[in-house]
Amino acid sequence: MSILSKSRICPETGLFFDDQAEKLIKWNAVTGVVFLLVGGAFGVLMALTRWTEVHILPADWFYLLLTAHGLDALIVWIIFFEMAVLYLASSTLLKVRLAAPKWAWLGYWLMLIGAVITNVMVLEGDSSVMFTSYPPMKAHPLFYLGIIIFAVGALIGTFCFFGTLVLAKEQKTYEGSLPLVTFGALTAAIIAVFTIASGAIILVPTLLWSLGYIAHIDPLMYKTIWWAMGHSSQQINVSAHVSIWYLIAAIIFGAKPLSEKVSRMAFLFYIFFLQLASAHHLLVEPGLSSEWKIFNTSYAMYLAVLGSMIHGLTVPGSIEAAQRKKGFNKGLFEWLRRAPWGNPVFSGMFMSLVMFGFLGGITGVIMGTEQINIIMHNTLYVPGHFHATVVAGTTLTFMAISYFLVPVLFRRELWLPGLAKWQPYIYGLGVAGISVFMMAAGTLGVSRRHWDNNFADATLGFDYPAAAHMFLALNGLSGLLAGLGGASFCIIMVGTILWGKKKGDVAATEPAPAPEPAVHQAGSAGSIAVPGTFVLALIFLGSFILYYYVNWKYLSEVWLLS
């Protein structure tokens, strides 16, 4: 393997960029942002339609754009950006050229073609089936074909990532084990293979069914296997954004993981258990036993949740250790107070960490409890929860790392740095509002994927409590705020690429000195104690326990079921 490839060392950050990998990172990330813009704009329209007094879209457009919003914001934007993350975590961090770049480009184009086909089908109006597309409701065959083509492209990209790891090992571009961030990306890639395989198992027959070659698709079978793709794809996101949390802690603070062993074990729990979560969507389904539901919904005794709780300590813990090493030692929280809150890379990442844990993580576990799901299934609580995990967790993290990556990749300074400073707060507050108010409305029984919360056209009408309409109005306002934050992000990114002040030529080959690592051993026994983080973790646990039992109390008040 002695193919010569062009590469450069970034003069500011010392990062290695293979020419092909760099181009692919740029194209995947920018394409992702375009779909975020489209999907995000549709999302604002959703929030405004749910706002009872505003109710901006007619019913057919609401269901049509809700389908497109789910596809573009949850799948297309995130997977494109994850391809960029995979290439960065392999080629750049291991200082090796990208394996099979032509295949990686093929993957990119397949993803783009697939995404465009499915979007066109949805926007033409005959595939308003929600992105879950539960049969027997049928979409246009090209709707399924587009998703399949997109998935094949993503699979090719994932294998280019695996190939790059092999290449790095072969060429000995690093010594010992993979860096933790690359290990996390590997976790994401392994889950991606499982996810895409599940998608193929169910979507290929569904495509044939929509073409008339197969007579019947069992709806329960479809739902069970579809969610092995649908939920696992969100576990790719979790693994990817947790890896980026470690990455940002490293580049901003020079933070080292507290202990490699504990952090890697947490990722290993993800690989073993995170894929069982299809069951989260099947807790009030007929025909599946309670034993099956309990084992799977709890990721085999909550071991994947344990993994996330570990990252919840070790990510901020590594920052605390690095900050204390620098002398921010006063009291429990000086390390946090003196963090660079004006730097969007840090503020975005830290808000994402807090909101993913407190709003997304706790509610996800509670909603995924077999019996508690009875009072939450398919209510607005569900989108409330996953906007905290996917938008506050993944999207906000990807935005944060973009503030670092885009200037480095395009050799330009950030455009509108003043706005960039505020953007994570505007977006974060908006998303927190969306999440909390949808969950509040869901607790009062308001249905998800529902155009008319007044039931004006129903023969047998129904009124939600007045508080529900108030929460929906607050959700609309939060949607506007998040829309403002999201638009600011897209403007800053596009502006940086087009009009950002150019940095000097890429002449330097000597890497800039890497920041001094906070701790030198791989273990954490000899390192600085992190009492502040431990207190934060205990506050998290206290909230978790309290809210968990509050929901058992709610459940105990509904009619008796057996």
Partner: protein, 180 residues
């Protein structure tokens, strides 16, 4: 740093700080408590779904519903023509979902048990009893049997909360619960 390979090659033998060990143990115990809560509730809780479900032909299910409606209709709901059915306490009660209605309207007695059968005639639907907030998934071809005991009386609505096409938001049914 997390972007470099571990500085010690044999990183898995390095000792771990006690704060990390404590947190892993605390989190593990909490995970196990949450795991045990679900089987515990099956034994001591009163809100559990049965594991009883059957494959059913939609036409056959429709006939069972019609039989019940013929036998136990007590009135019609206003001028809608929808029958209100009061089946005997403890009996098998049938409720069907179809584009875009719940049929028929049931009238149950507070504090009494009923074996409620739920199924769909066409697409997937979501049974969402409001304001009580009980939510169940209804599939075509599956007879979902839930033993249900109303604990309050009054007028309740059944909303469809699984998207089922353009008329989805008009799909609302009703249920009455009377005091004994």
């Amino acid at each position: 740093m997390a972007i470099h390979p571990p500085e010690t090659k044999i990183w898995w033998k390095e000792p771990v700080h006690s704060i990390e060990i404590w947190w892993v143990l605390i989190a593990l115990v909490w995970s196990l408590i949450m795991f045990v809560m679900m089987p515990y509730w099956h034994v001591y809780g009163e809100q559990n779904l049965s594991n009883e479900a059957y494959r059913v032909d939609p036409e056959y299910f429709g006939e069972k519903v019609e039989d019940m409606v013929k036998k136990y209709t007590i009135r019609e709901e206003g001028d809608t023509g929808i029958p209100v059915v009061a089946p005997p306490v403890g009996s098998d009660v049938f409720l069907l979902a179809r584009l875009w209605e719940w049929y028929p309207i049931l009238e149950l007695k507070k504090g009494e048990k009923y074996r409620l059968h739920l199924s769909s005639m066409d697409w997937m639907h979501g049974f969402s009893l409001q304001p009580t907030n009980i939510n169940l998934s209804i599939h075509p071809g599956y007879d979902f049997v839930v033993t249900i005991t109303p604990t309050e009386s009054g007028k309740f609505s059944i909303i469809c909360n699984e998207y089922c096409g353009i008329g989805h938001h008009t799909m609302a049914g009703r249920m009455y619960v009377t005091d004994k």
